[in-house]
Amino acid sequence: MNAAADVIPRVSARLCRVAAAVTPVAAAAFLSFTAYSWLMPSENDERLRSSMGHYLGLITVTPLVRLAGCGVNLLHVAILAFALWSARALLLRFAAGEVFEIETGALLRRFGKALLLYAALIPLVNSATLLIVTLANPAGERALGFGLGSEEITLALVSVVILVTGSVLADAARMAADHRQIV
């Protein structure tokens, strides 16, 4: 049931449509940038080294390292792209005025889940990346590290809030739909 079709103001609907148009571009940009930074030769090696911080000098970038690093990081960014795709579907529903709907809540929950998975995997992907870029080193110079930053924790907390909000919205919309069937 499209109960809220005429509730959303025109400006908000337009904003939602613009944001919905931006999300796939952002997803494509994240994926392209990740692929570019791993697969393109030398000019990105320095950035790769600097992103590895303390392990500067230990990194050996071979074609296989590039491919493995690209694969792991692309998979990780694909989760973010999926989250953005869910956000796009959600924004399009908002633009259509479908704000207080079960499906809207489900989409918000899906966005939160994907974002939470992305945040949870950041430390693991960083560890895997470090291992990959030092794997070609001689024995004794390979590294495996684990780090948890405040940014990951903040992102995870925000994701949980989005996830819970989506669940509550879906439940509330379900109850409202139920209520509409009582005359």
């Binding site: 139920d178 069937q181 009582i182 005359v183």
Partner: protein, 74 residues
């Protein structure tokens, strides 16, 4: 649903149209139509009381329990 709504029978007996009943009890004609076809999840006591007052009948004359089902009758 084993509850059958017999509102159309009572409307016919009282020679009243759905539109008149809807105006009388203050709900939409669409909701009266849904109620008549039994495609609702429930009826508020308030609505039931208003229907009974408008049609001069008892709730038992509007609702019937049939264990074997019969969703759309009435």
């Amino acid at each position: 649903m084993p509850i059958v709504v017999r509102l159309d029978v009572m409307l016919a007996r009282r020679k009243m149209r759905s539109k008149e009943l809807a105006e009388h009890i203050g709900i939409t004609e669409a909701n009266v139509s849904l109620l008549k076809s039994g495609r609702v999840k429930g009826v508020r006591f308030e609505t039931l009381a208003q229907i009974c007052a408008a049609l001069d009948c008892q709730p038992g004359e509007l609702l019937e329990y049939r264990p074997d089902g019969g969703a759309s009758e009435g």
